[in-house]
């Protein structure tokens, strides 16, 4: 896969996630300058805003399972501001997307809090997702509960 294709699939994943938020009644916006956040997701009625980072990958097939790799900047993960980030992981498989895994920043940091803390040279965490029937394992930890977890983004009726 070329670097250029990665850009295309990354943007496609971001737009797919934005479309899903719109269908759930949340407004979306993309920052003009890319400094980390991919999408701002807003509840129009009261201005509640959530920050979303979309991570996109292609699925690789292995026996009856599929795997995908994602990269997270450690510094970004550790910056727990008053508006935490939601990480959304989606992967492309044949002609469709996997159901997004939605993980709030503090939850993800909790899983990998000891990673690279003592090693300044480590700038990224590589996450390896393994998809099997109804189950997702990430670097040895069960991430199944995050599949399609829109609990912090309930459907808004307009």
């Amino acid at each position: 896969m070329t670097k250029k294709y990665n850009l295309y699939i990354g943007r496609a994943g971001q737009l797919a996630v934005m479309a899903e938020f719109l269908l759930r009644g949340w407004n979306v916006a993309m920052p003009e300058v890319d400094i980390g956040d991919d999408i701002f997701v807003v509840e129009d009625e009261n201005g509640v805003m959530k920050r979303v980072q979309v991570k996109t990958s292609s699925l690789k097939s292995r026996n009856n399972t599929f795997s995908a790799q994602f990269q997270i900047p450690i510094k970004q993960l550790q910056k727990v501001s008053r508006v935490p980030i939601y990480y959304i992981f989606i992967a492309r498989r044949n002609d469709g997307w996997t159901i997004p895994l939605i993980i709030q920043q503090e939850e993800l940091l909790d899983h990998f809090k000891n990673f690279g803390i003592d090693d300044e040279s480590k700038r990224y965490i590589n996450l390896y997702f393994s998809y099997s029937k109804d189950k997702v394992v990430c670097s040895g930890q069960d991430f199944t509960k995050y599949i399609g977890d829109y609990s912090d983004f309930p459907i808004i009726e307009h």
Partner: protein, 95 residues
């Protein structure tokens, strides 16, 4: 006796203090009935020239963020670490 970590993050207009979900669960188990929050924010109006150790503001953070009064905390927790990933600084406080 145990130790817990509070993450400190300095923003343009104040500080955000947060605890990870595992710490929240740990506190709930240690202090049944407690209602720890995920995070709290203190604006600069109340924390200007903020120095954690000198300000004594941690006394207000305990009941609000951890959902436990200092006196109760002292019985079960030996150290509270304030971890600032921006600076790499860890300040240890005995409650």
């Amino acid at each position: 006796m145990s130790a817990i970590s509070i993450i400190v993050y300095k923003e343009m207009d104040g500080f955000t203090f947060s605890i990870l979900p595992s710490v929240r669960e740990f506190i709930k188990k240690l202090f049944p009935g407690s209602q720890p929050a995920s995070r709290m924010h203190i604006g600069f109006e109340t924390a200007s020239n903020f120095d954690l150790l000198e300000s004594g503001i941690e006394k207000q953070i305990y009941p609000t963020l951890l959902g436990v009064e200092k006196e109760e905390l002292k019985k079960q927790i030996t150290d509270i670490e304030f971890v600032n990933y921006q600076t790499g600084k860890v300040e240890k406080i005995h409650p």
